[in-house]
Amino acid sequence: MDAFTTHRGILAPLDRANVDTDQIIPKQFLKSIKRTGFGPSAFFDWRYQIDGTPNPEFELNKPRYAERSILLTRNNFGCGSSREHAVWALAQDGYRAIVAPFRGEGDDHIPGFADIFKNNCSKNGVVTIELSEDAVEEIFQAVFAEEGLEASVNLADQKLVLHKASGDVEYAFDYDASVKNKLLKGLDDIEESLQYMDDIRQFEQKHDTWMVS
């Protein structure tokens, strides 16, 4: 995996909550046995009309977002199916980071991203940024107001900077330390885990899997 340090790009708004991975990449594209080629199929059913031409009603198809690389959306993005193809599709469609709001705390907490999706992003160098609902609403309004609005993601400092015409606005975000370290260095999970093979072997000697041979 390539390391992620900083990225600057145009924001594109997908103003919907609970976008599930069936919408991000529909089932017919899951038949591929390859890891590439999913980009043009991201958001397929929303993005294209029945005749295969781009759907002008779909917000991400607007010409002003053609060069976008940061997706701005609402909470619980990526819920449903565990298909990693959803992350492959977004990454191959040019998205390096996704911004979504979390709401509330404790029992009332609603996350910006679904669990498995967020985990899959971490394996593919896509940075998932969770900000407060107020902050995300502010960014949505700024994106609607200012064509070509860019933002910078600085993973090391855990900051998203909005480059508005009136000046930069900075948003700090929380980020899992283990994932951050991995993305910054572009580490491979399997390679890392194989370093603990002695621990795994020792564990296996005393562990019963109840497997009938």
Binding site: I33, S82, E204, H207
Partner: protein, 470 residues
């Protein structure tokens, strides 16, 4: 210190804590299917790695397989290529495969328990979010992405962060004809599709204890629809009876079984164990559930009207409008006025023998409405054989149903079974997302009994007061 069931399983599988704050967790069983595995096997090839424990790895084909009589000849060349890739990968890496035509083939989450692969106290993963199903046995089971599939194949471990624990207690007894599908849909309606994110559910209480293993699997299956990667039910005599009553080739027997049973009996959460979150639901008050929208959290009691734009907790008016437009519904409509075109009884949620028995009990001696297409798809070849031995296939066929072969079928329409745009379906599956059962298709999630009764009447009915169409 008192521990929950989850913590007991976690502790028993912890290889070691890692410096970066994650933990290396040992995986006892790895289920593999054709859709989410090809890129993982390819990754092994590119790095020259092997499958560390082929004997703990089991694969089958379910998503792509046709379910009609001509199922052995897959017409779609891309589906066929994916199935062939799994055959080659299993042969190259020494992994067991129950392919099309094998008497043990079926939906991965149906054959695991059926073959005794799923056992209490184990950890289990699969590149499929409905792996949570196996939690019904007190198995810590969850879905993973393809990168993690490759990680498990190579190391037999996963890097994990410990989840929070979320106890869901169902007190009291269920009303007649209300069942586990309604229990889990009710929960999702209450907490939303993100409510369980970061947590592992433990389902407990009188109403859960009274459920069969099949019914327990239905609840755990839809944990992911409540945002939780896993759901657990403590093993008990019902669990042990399921494992030992039939020949389950991979389950321990004899002295091994006695040793296993002693361990399994120690698994339930300690009485004073503390959960991060607790929710109590009065099971006696649960009504049959029907989804009206495009998310499993958009669900109501069968006797409630389709909600207004501002009446749905957790969804904005715009989201509700979008969902209603997609579904072709209006606020205030009665569910009993909604007429599905197709009824799908099947999927890893509701395709086991008890699900088919419940549907057959409704359909016995009755006919589907003329306007309805009725599809009954057993979850595995073994379920199909057992249903036929019990004469259920005859009940279905006499009612006008198509009696199919095992597979995921219309749950996600990666195979020829799919909805046309705007076609409306009452489905016993797990997801009513836009296009899930076919682009433009409209899905209402229900229990097998509710689906069967809707097939007879041609519209939804309140199964509690239904007079059988007489």
């Amino acid at each position: 210190m008192a521990k929950t069931l989850f913590e007991k399983i976690w502790d028993r599988h912890l290889v070691r804590d890692l410096p970066d704050g994650t933990s290396l967790l040992y995986i006892d069983r790895h289920l593999v299917h054709e859709v989410t595995s090809p890129q993982a096997f390819e990754g092994l090839r590119l790095t020259g790695r092997k499958v560390r424990h082929p004997e703990l790895t089991f694969s089958t084909m379910d998503h792509n397989v046709p379910t009609d009589e001509n199922r052995l000849n897959i017409q779609d060349p891309i589906s066929a290529a994916q199935v062939e890739a799994l055959e080659k990968n299993c042969a190259d890496f020494g992994v067991k495969l129950y392919g099309i035509g094998d008497s043990r083939q079926g939906i991965v989450h149906v054959i695991g328990p059926e073959l005794g692969i799923t056992l209490p106290g184990l950890t289990m993963v699969c590149g499929d979010s409905h792996t949570s199903t196996h939690g019904a046995f007190g198995t810590l089971a969850f879905g993973i992405g393809t990168s993690e599939v490759e990680h498990v194949l190579a190391t037999q471990t996963l890097r994990q962060k410990k989840a929070r624990t979320f106890k869901v207690e169902y007190t009291g007894k269920l009303s007649p004809h209300v069942h586990s599908k309604d229990m889990v849909l009710k929960l999702i309606g209450m907490i939303g599709t993100a409510g369980g994110t970061g947590s592992v559910f433990e389902f407990c209480g009188e109403a859960v204890r009274g459920l069969s293993m099949e019914a327990r699997m239905t609840i755990c299956n839809m944990s992911i629809e409540g945002g939780a990667r896993a759901g657990l039910i403590a093993p008990d005599e019902t669990t042990f009876e399921y494992i030992t009553a039939r020949d389950r080739p991979f389950a321990p027997k004899g002295a091994e079984l006695e040793r296993a049973l002693a361990q399994w009996r120690s698994l339930p959460s300690d009485p004073d164990a503390v959960f991060d979150r607790t929710l109590t639901i009065d099971a006696s008050k649960i009504a049959p559930q029907v989804t009206w929208g495009t998310s499993p959290g958009m669900v109501i009691d069968v006797d409630q009207p389709v909600p207004g734009l501002n009446d749905v907790a957790g969804y904005s008016a715009a989201d509700v409008r979008k969902a209603l437009d997609y579904m072709g519904l209006e606020p205030g409509q009665k569910l009993t006025d909604i007429r599905p075109d197709t009824i799908f009884i099947g999927s890893c949620t509701n395709s086991r023998i008890e699900d088919l028995r419940r549907a057959a009990a409704i359909l016995k001696g009755r006919k589907k409405a003329d306007s309805i297409k009725l599809l009954v798809v057993p979850g595995s070849h073994q379920v199909r054989l057992q249903a036929e031995a019990e004469g259920l296939d005859k009940v279905f066929k006499d009612a006008g149903a198509e009696w199919r072969w095992a597979g995921c079928s219309m749950c996600l329409a990666m195979n020829p079974d799919k909805l046309a745009p705007k076609e409306r379906c009452a489905s016993t599956s797990n997801r009513n997302f836009e296009g899930r059962q076919g682009a433009g298709g409209r899905t209402h999630l229900v229990s097998p009994e509710m689906a069967a009764a809707a097939a007879v009447e041609g519209h939804f009915v309140d199964i509690r007061s239904w007079n059988g169409g007489n």
